[in-house]
């Protein structure tokens, strides 16, 4: 029941929000709805953590062999929690931004939340595809209507890009469906498929391109910086914090366990793409003058690292990916909030035009700097746990010959991350004030609280991640176990 509620609540409240014309009312409505969703996902992790309430299945397209089947497993719990946490944070942090046609804005935000929840929960390939597309549509409208100057072209490119990827995935899904003995879309029947290696390899690419575009992985990333830059910040938070995780989830749930041989076969190819992306985007991030673009490129690097850790297929690395998916979401939303606050106050995101903010707005500076440090994975912060595990995993990987090389090259990205992040902090927050930043006001109470919550989460996850590991242990074992079933993969 929990799983259904997580989809239905944002869906219904989103549809209802279209009809609330008062801006203040619809804002509160969206916040309340997202808080209820948060409470429910919390219940799913604690009191009602049993199969009966986490699972739901109802026959839907019976003659196609598809059912409305959702389940909250470890992967779903991680990402649904992230989604459920993100939306209230986003709504509170952008409380003071006003939007034209507010009712439509918040309605679409809630609908996108419903779509995302669906993607994370779907246990049926056709249902997964449905939600995969549905999550995209509201975001398309959000970006095109409330975004920056070049929003229409940029969002269009983003849309066509991802739509193309998902259509290719559709072919892969239908192909696999034809191969299942009972012609079923259920995840169990996909997992029990035993495809020939030759068939696996082309299906692999159909899937992978869809996921690679979403993550994004080099060279499919070109939509991302533009879209992040042009979208309204609240939507950028959804895109970068939550939506990119769709790609990772796709790989973890629908690619590795279904096509273990091809995942092994092309592991090195994908790893190479990921490593190139990590280096390339880190180097570009150093050059950026626009805060949004800087964070966008830094996000490509982080996603690349997670993809790399997945395809080196170690238990410990996978554990790192799980925790990092959550942490990356929290941290990047924190960064965007900072950017939004700066942009709202000064009307610019250009690093070169800012400076000395720390003198006038100490609270903001302290909170933002902590989040930024978490972005470069300083010990005690949440990202350190994740990245440490991932690097350990990549280094100890037995399925690739290039584990040391991959570790070293990807490791350079940590240094580069420090370069661009610290540089950005130095230029924006320290130094002398200029005419623009002379009269800086410190941040408001609600913004302070929300940033403080994020900082608290950063430390809690950084110091005591154990509950999180317990939540994801079994699903990590399941994913790794699937590829272990092909024993010759591990022989080196």
């Amino acid at each position: 029941m929990i799983a259904v509620l997580l989809i239905v609540i944002p869906l219904i409240s989103g549809l209802a929000a279209f009809f609330i014309k008062n801006e203040k009312a619809v804002r509160s409505w969206a916040l309340i709805s997202s808080l209820i969703t948060f409470v429910i996902s919390g219940l799913g992790l604690t009191i009602l953590n049993d199969t009966a309430s986490l699972q739901f299945s109802y026959p839907w397209l019976t003659n196609l062999g598809s059912s409305f089947s959702v389940k909250l497993d470890g992967l779903g719990q991680t990402l649904c929690l992230l989604t459920a946490v993100s939306f209230p944070i986003i709504f509170i942090a952008t409380w003071n931004s006003s939007y034209k046609n507010a009712s439509r804005f918040f309605a679409l935000m809630l609908l996108s939340q419903a779509g995302l929840m669906g993607v994370f929960l779907a246990m049926d390939a056709l249902l997964f595809y449905f939600f995969w597309e549905l999550a995209l549509i509201p975001v398309y409208f959000l970006c095109s209507q409330w975004g920056g100057e070049k929003r229409i072209q940029v969002t269009f490119k983003f849309f066509i890009y991802t739509f193309l990827g998902s259509l290719l995935m559709l072919i892969a899904i239908i192909y696999l469906y034809q191969q299942t003995p009972a012609h079923s879309f259920s995840i169990a029947s996909f997992y029990s498929l035993d495809l020939k290696p030759s068939a696996q390899s082309w299906v692999f690419w159909l899937f992978f391109i869809a996921f690679a575009i979403k993550m994004p992985i080099f060279p499919f990333h070109t939509w991302q910086p533009d879209t992040y830059e042009q979208s309204p910040t609240a939507v950028t938070m959804v895109l970068s914090g939550v939506m990119v995780k769709m790609g990772l989830l796709g790989v973890l749930r629908w690619l590795l366990p279904v096509l273990p041989i091809a995942s092994y076969e092309y592991g090195d190819t994908v790893s190479t793409m990921a490593v190139i992306g990590i280096l390339y985007s880190s180097l570009i991030a150093i050059q950026q003058n626009d805060l949004k673009r800087l964070i966008a490129y830094s996000s490509i690097a982080h996603m690349g690292l997670m993809c790399l850790a997945i395809f080196t297929e170690t238990r410990i690395g996978m554990q790192g990916v799980f925790i990092q998916m959550f942490n990356h979401g929290i941290n990047i939303i924190g960064l965007w909030i900072g950017v939004e606050l700066i942009e709202r106050q000064f009307g610019t995101r250009k690093i070169s035009e800012l400076g000395g903010i720390a003198q006038k707005a100490p609270a903001m500076a302290i909170l933002f700097v902590i989040i930024a440090l978490a972005n470069i994975a300083l010990p005690l912060t949440n990202a350190f746990v994740g990245e440490f595990l991932m690097f350990t995993g990549i280094f100890s990987s037995t399925i690739t010959h290039y584990n040391i090389l991959l570790t070293v090259v990807a490791g350079i990205s940590i240094i580069l991350a420090a370069v661009y992040t610290l540089n950005m902090i130095r230029k924006v927050f320290y130094g002398n004030t200029n005419s623009l930043t002379e009269n800086t006001q410190d941040i408001r109470k609600n913004e302070k609280i929300i940033l403080a919550v994020i900082v608290a989460a950063i430390f809690v996850m950084g110091i005591y991640p154990k509950p999180f590991f317990e939540m994801t242990n079994s699903i990590v074992d399941a994913i790794i176990g699937k590829s272990d079933m092909v024993p010759f993969l591990k022989r080196h």
Binding site: F141, S144, F156, I171
Partner: protein
């Protein structure tokens, strides 16, 4: 064999009634209402026929067979026409002076549609196609004082007559090779004498070409943009949806039943035609500046997707074609209904439409999403069935991948309309006024499109039960 032909006879008779209605009723709307009533009768007769109530028992000498497939397809065609009458009926009577005759011709076309979907003899197929085509030539030229309309009509007539010639030649050759016009006769002859007679193959290919012409598949599509663009928009709407879908049904019957045994001979040919149709339709649609012309090319590209059913020719394909017919017809009729109301057919004509008519803009968006094949709309499941049928053939996967690449391109031109409606400001107030009834119909239509996207069984179950 005793044929059941409720709808067939009723639609022909009602066509005649409509012809004389203008003598009796001088008011245009009365004539329109009469047409709607007649259509409801025909539809009811057809549905009764599905449930086994038959009014007329006539020996058809095995030339016509109303099976579940054809009855279901007829129902969809009749419902689509009803929707079309209700949405655009007022515009039909405005298209020219002879408003009653337009309804007459549409009823005759429906007679042809019913014949084509249920033929068991090549002669009936020919008859049906001609009964569809000749009224269409007239309707295309209905706007008598408009040069473009005249040109379109003449062009359509010349090209149509030519392809009819090809079709007759094909039928003659097939008759020469097999000694029969009947589907059953052709099938028996092929199984007895084998499929390697050059006469038979040539005849089949001529039939393939002429049918491709009628459904505007590439490279026989050249008439389509001009005719669709030149014809009065109300009639373009009818031509591009119900008529096209009906001819497809005839196409799939012809090649599935009569030439089913020759599949290895025509499958690759159809694959190539399919790919060419998808490619030309989609790529050309991208460059159009007029929404009407864009829809003409879009109808070519959608025909490409329907051709996939022909290529695959299995149970999935038949189900898919039924769903596709419904999804494509309903969505396209909806978009055309809005387009007719607009003065300016260019993309800019839609600028700021969501501000003037938020409800119509929202429904039009749903129709466009359906045509683009976005999940939760009927269009997605229709495309899904086509891809499933194609992949079920277990070879030529390239065709499926090519089709989805083209579908991704189609998003470009469909979304241009959405962008114009929502994200661009209209410089002039193209304040169109529509009745609440029109809005209500559009909302119902949009709801049906979404409902079919979630529960395709609402239509498909009729195929089995």
């Amino acid at each position: 064999m005793i044929g059941k032909m409720n709808a067939l006879l009723l639609s022909a008779v009602w066509g005649v009634i409509m012809m004389f209605s203008s003598f009796l009723f001088k008011q245009k709307l009365v004539v329109r209402n009469l047409a709607v009533i007649g259509l409801v009768f025909v539809l009811a007769a057809n549905i009764l026929e599905m449930n086994g109530t038959v009014f007329f028992h006539i020996d058809t000498r095995e030339m016509i067979l109303f099976d579940r497939f054809s009855l279901l397809v007829n129902t969809i065609a009749l419902i689509s026409t009803l929707v079309y009458f209700l949405l655009s009926g007022k515009d039909i009577v405005k298209a020219g002076d002879n408003y009653a005759e337009y309804f007459t011709l549409i009823f005759f076309i429906l007679t042809g549609v019913i014949l084509v979907s249920s033929f068991q003899s090549l002669l009936i197929l020919f008859l049906g196609i001609e009964i569809i085509s000749i009224p269409l030539y007239i309707l295309t030229g209905a706007d008598k004082k408009n040069l473009k309309s005249n040109e379109a009509s003449l062009k359509y007539f010349l090209m149509g007559a030519f392809s009819t010639g090809l079709m007759l030649m094909g039928i003659a050759l097939v008759y020469g090779a097999t000694g029969s016009f009947l589907t059953s006769g052709i099938v028996t002859s092929i199984s007895n004498k084998g499929a390697d007679s050059p006469l038979l193959i040539t005849g089949m290919i001529l039939l393939l070409f002429s049918m491709s012409f009628k459904v505007s598949a590439a490279p026989f599509h050249f008439w389509t943009p001009d005719v669709y663009d030149g014809a009065p928009t109300v009639f373009t709407s009818f031509m591009a949806t119900i008529v096209k879908a009906a001819v497809f049904i005839g196409f799939i019957r012809l090649f599935g039943e009569s030439f089913g045994a020759l599949q290895s001979q025509w499958q690759l040919l159809i694959a190539i035609i399919t790919a060419a149709t998808l490619f030309i339709g989609n790529i050309t649609a991208v460059f159009q500046q007029s929404v009407k012309r864009m829809l003409a090319y879009s109808s070519i590209s959608q025909a490409g997707f329907m051709m996939l059913a022909l290529y695959a020719m299995n149970t999935d394909a038949k189900e898919g074609l039924i769903l596709y017919t419904a999804a494509y017809s309903l969505a396209t009729i909806g978009i055309f209904a809005v387009l007719i109301k607009l003065k300016d057919y260019s993309f800019e004509g839609f600028n700021g439409f969501s501000k003037h008519q938020p409800l119509l803009a929202a429904t039009t968006t749903i129709f466009l999403l359906s045509l683009a094949g976005i999940p939760l709309t009927a269009g997605f499941l229709a495309k899904f069935y086509m891809l499933r049928a194609t992949l079920a053939t277990n070879h030529n996967f390239w065709l499926a991948i090519f089709a989805v690449l083209m579908a991704a391109i189609s998003v470009y031109y469909y979304f241009r309309v959405i962008q114009a409606m929502y994200f661009k400001d209209g410089d002039k107030n193209n304040g169109i006024s529509v009745s609440p009834a029109f809005k209500g119909m559009m909302v119902i239509l949009a709801a049906v499109v979404i409902l079919l996207g979630i529960f395709p069984g609402l239509v498909l179950n009729w195929y089995y039960f």
